[in-house]
Amino acid sequence: MILPLPTYAIDIEELAAALAERGADSTAYEQTRYLGILDEPLESSGRLSFEPPDRLVQEQREPEARILTLDGEQLTFEADGRRRVVQLEDSPEGAALADSLRGILNGRIDVLSEDYELVLNERPDDGWRLHLLPLRGELADRIRRIEVIGQIDAGLAIVERLTLEFANGDRSVMRLDQHREDEPDHEPASP
């Protein structure tokens, strides 16, 4: 096991604080799924929004409009004009993933450490890499590990990439745009 050493620029509490510091947040994302059963990866994109304390919305815009909302313990999925509501506890697969995602985005390291062993690595230029390794068997049966890569910028943690590695080798990579909510989605044209 690799433990963060004191010489590292950040430790896990600082990262948690820096993540929590983000507050309400909305970023564009692109997601690529590499599934063993399919011959080619699947690409999708949309916006990921977080509202404290515990509301996470994944709004997929391409290729088809889909909205997944995790609010408290309730998971809502909207597609083709239909709403399906699932209690988090009823859907262990969905629960684990959505809960982990939320835990990362709101810096609830304490919640995450109940289910995962957390391993933090430093990357150059204030970068960090967090590995989440499932502790419990039923979670480990599904998820091999979760990798989160980001940076610290002026006391705020920015999540750049989130990779889910499933037990069967499937992978899902979500790349988050670093631009904050209050900025335009795209770089303004150079003057």
Partner: protein, 797 residues
């Protein structure tokens, strides 16, 4: 035949009958099922409603809440209670929302998805169909839920499972806390337990509820003493009603017996006379209960409770006998002569009163409510027995008995009673006012709903409402019921209906529906789906073509090919296959069947919150192609049902009243006299109805029964106050005394019932007690003045 032999034979016959009756009673089953006061319906639709109320899943389902302690302690108690009761034969099913339960249900759905999914047909499994379905599933893999559907895809690439899960939407269920059902605020953990006992087996339900309570007590002692149990649901109402009826019937019987005994003891001042006077009543009660037991297989607690009040009426016969035969006896030269004189002068009047009472009660036999029919039969046989014992047995015992004289009471009453005739204008005025009241209140006079038949404990009702709301299972209001000669034909008819309903849902007329065929399709449908599934090789070939333009290769879908092959060959599902899964509870309750009667039903519940009456009419019309399908609005249906029975009972009562009038016309042979006899009875009934309209709220069918009794009892008084012209005595002191005594016992016995919390008993008591009193007063007010004064009375004491 010598007189002695005749007496011995009479006594022997009487004793034999009473002993047989008592033996029969010991063999009788007693019940307190309030559904006896629901109509025994003639139409199948109504029969079904009654069946649903009596036997339906709802009637056997306990709602359980666990409160107190911490979240974890409550959840642990919920899990332990579930674990303890799940294998208990007293329960058909018990659920606490455990995830394992959901898993089990999902597992079952998954293993039978190709038999269950409505999408499965030949087209779906054609090359084009497979291409389109698998293409869609791949697009779903790329949605935010893709990380979940990813696990299903290899074995279910056509997405049947997601479609099934959508239909078994768990979001309609209760809230959760700590992986079990809880109230929304998480302060109460919820369970649902369905007893194995039938809804009409109150004893079995009571044992089941006791099992829950005892098991919980043990669990609580292990976990935390602050935990407590809330238990409700339809069976608890039945149990509560039974316990209450039992307790009240016992209590009121004791009070009535004490009151009547006290009144008689005060009047007779002789214990032997009192005991002899109770013989006709006791015989009547025994024979009445025995006859009901023989006629209905079981005797309702309410019948017994009513019986205690009837004692007040049956005791009248012995009062007339003891008081009046003494009167005649003293007038003549010996007791034997007095008896024959009583038989000659008074028995005809008693007999006429008896026959009018019998006619009144006979009306109940036609009411269509088993409970009321029991009361009618009980009253008729009870009164007849009491009268016969008075007529034939008491005269044998009578001469040997000393007896008190209550002529003094009669004489003290004579003057005030005579004075009462001055009140005739007042009585007529009151009668007129009563008519005015009734004319103005006629619209709201009768309550037209079924509610209020059973005694309801407000605390239990509050618990029930709370748990029911938290469980998110408000009783459905609209049902479609289809019928078949067996389950298969019923299921096929239900599938026909759901194909129509699907269209209505699409058109927005209906929010949705739940049909048992969603979980248990008919065998025909299952076989059709199996036939539509291609055989293994064929499927592999079609997949090969279907996947040409899709990013998945056929060899990776071997799990799918295997599952299809397995389910194609599998035996079709039967209801029994669902047993032990949480799905069974939902399905079995909606498939009531009666193999003996060769009838099976399927019940489809409709989600009609936003459906207007016009849309309901469209819906009703839409399902007409399915011959046996009936759309039932449980609310209006039960009310309409009740209204119909109220009407029937009204008609039968009026017919009974007409029969009484006809009888009096024939026997009295004088329309004028009959009018005089009827006047006080009619006024009494009018005053009671007006009184209830003004102070007592709406009248129910039970009040109508009470009014019938007022007429039956009142006719006795009116007849005595209007003695036949041939009878010289007019209204003498002892007749007056005996009538007063008879009224007192009747008012006491029925008056006690007016304090009952069992609505059936309360309604009858609150009608008959004031009605009998009014009938006596009015009979006195409108009495024929004595033809001549009775000088022979003066020197008697």
């Amino acid at each position: 035949m010598s007189l002695r032999l005749k007496h011995s034979l009479t006594l022997g016959l009487w004793l034999t009958v009473v002993l047989l009756a008592i033996y029969s009673i010991t063999q009788t089953r007693f019940t307190a099922d309030m559904s006896a006061f629901l109509p025994a319906s003639p139409s199948s639709e109504q029969q079904l409603l009654v069946d649903q109320l009596q036997q339906g899943a709802v009637s056997r389902t306990f709602l359980v809440g666990i409160e107190g302690g911490t979240d974890e302690q409550r959840a642990e108690a919920s899990r332990q209670l579930h674990a303890s009761l799940v294998d208990d034969p007293a329960f058909a099913a018990i659920q606490n929302g455990d995830r394992a339960h959901h898993e089990q249900a999902r597992q079952f759905l998954f293993e039978h998805r190709y038999l269950l999914s409505p999408a499965v047909d030949a087209e779906r499994f054609s090359v084009e169909g497979l291409n389109s379905a698998i293409g869609k599933s791949i697009r779903e893999l790329n949605s935010p839920l893709g990380d979940v559907t990813r696990e299903l895809f290899p074995r279910d690439p056509t997405g049947e499972m997601l479609a099934l899960l959508d239909r078994h939407d768990p979001s309609s269920g209760p809230a959760r806390c700590c992986v079990v059902w809880s109230s929304a605020d998480q302060s109460t953990m919820l369970l649902v337990a369905q007893a194995s006992a039938s809804g009409s087996d109150t004893d079995g339900l009571a044992r089941a509820s006791q099992r829950i309570k005892n098991t919980f007590d043990t669990i609580r002692d292990d976990i935390d003493p602050s935990l407590h149990l809330a238990i409700a649901g339809s069976p608890m109402f039945a149990i509560e009603a039974r316990d209450r009826i039992k307790a009240e019937v016992t209590l009121f019987s004791i009070i009535s017996v004490i009151l009547v005994t006290l009144v008689l003891l005060l009047a007779y001042r002789s214990l032997p006379v009192l005991l002899a006077g109770l013989l006709p009543v006791g015989s009547g009660v025994a024979v009445g209960i025995a006859m009901v037991g023989l006629g209905f297989d079981e005797v309702h607690g309410i019948t017994i409770g009513f019986g205690t009040a009837l004692m007040g009426e049956a005791i009248d016969y012995s009062i007339y006998y003891f008081v009046q035969s003494r009167q005649v006896g003293m007038d003549s030269d010996g007791q034997g002569a007095g008896q024959s004189a009583w038989l000659r002068d008074y028995w005809p009047t008693v007999r006429l009163g008896l026959v009018t009472s019998l006619i009144g009660f006979a009306a109940l036999l036609f009411s269509g409510f088993p409970g009321l029919m029991q009361i009618g039969l009980y009253a008729m046989t009870g009164l007849l027995t009491a009268a016969l014992v008075t007529r034939y047995v008491l005269p044998i015992l009578g001469p040997r008995l000393p007896r008190g004289d209550i002529a003094g009471l009669g004489r003290r009453l004579e003057r005030p009673v005579a004075e009462m005739r001055r009140l005739r204008p007042v009585a007529m005025l009151l009668g007129g006012l009563a008519v005015v009241v009734l004319v103005f209140q006629q619209d709201g006079l009768w309550r037209d709903s079924l509610s209020g038949l059973a005694p309801i404990d407000p605390a239990l009702e509050a618990t029930d409402t709370r748990l029911r709301e938290e469980l998110g299972s408000p009783s459905p209001r609209h049902l479609i019921v289809v019928k078949g000669e067996d389950r298969e034909t019923a299921l096929r008819a239900a599938e026909h209906v759901t194909s129509i309903l699907d269209q209505q849902v699409e058109d927005g007329l209906l929010a949705g529906y739940r049909s048992p065929t969603e979980t248990l399709p008919s065998l025909a449908t299952q076989r059709a789906r199996q036939t539509a599934l291609p055989a293994g090789k064929e499927l592999e070939q079609r997949l090969e073509q279907a996947l040409v333009d899709l990013p998945v290769s056929p060899d990776r879908l071997q799990g799918f090919v295997d599952d299809v092959a397995r389910q194609k060959k599998a035996a079709a599902m039967e209801l029994a296959d669902l047993e032990g899964t949480p799905l069974w509870l939902a399905v079995a309750g909606h498939l009531p069947s009666d193999a003996a009667a060769g009838q099976a039903l399927a019940v489809i519940t409709l989600h009609t919150d936003d459906t207007t009456p016009q849309e309901m009419a469209v819906l009703r019309e839409a399902i007409t192609p399915v011959e046996s399908a009936v759309l039932i609005d449980l609310l209006t249906e039960s009310n309409r049902l009740y209204a119909r029975y109220l009407n029937t009972t009204l008609v039968v009562s009026l017919a009974g009243a007409a029969a009484i009038v006809l009888l009096l016309l024939i026997v009295q042979a004088s329309p004028r006299r009959t009018l005089r006899t009827l006047l006080p009875i009619t006024l009494a009934v009018l005053l009671v109805v007006a009184g209830h309209a003004l102070f007592g709220g709406q009248l129910t069918l039970l009040h109508l029964v009470g009014l019938l009794l007022v007429a039956a009892i009142g006719s006795n008084y009116a007849l005595f106050f209007q003695p036949p012209p041939g009878q010289s005595n007019g209204l003498d002191a002892r007749t007056l005394a005996s009538l007063t005594l008879a009224t007192t016992t009747t008012v006491c016995a029925f008056g006690v019932l007016a304090f009952s919390s069992v609505p059936v008993l309360q309604a009858i008591g609150a009608t008959v007690a004031p009605g009998a009193l009014a009938a006596w007063l009015l009979a006195a007010i409108f009495a024929t003045p004595a033809a001549r004064p009775l000088p022979d009375m003066t020197g008697q004491t």
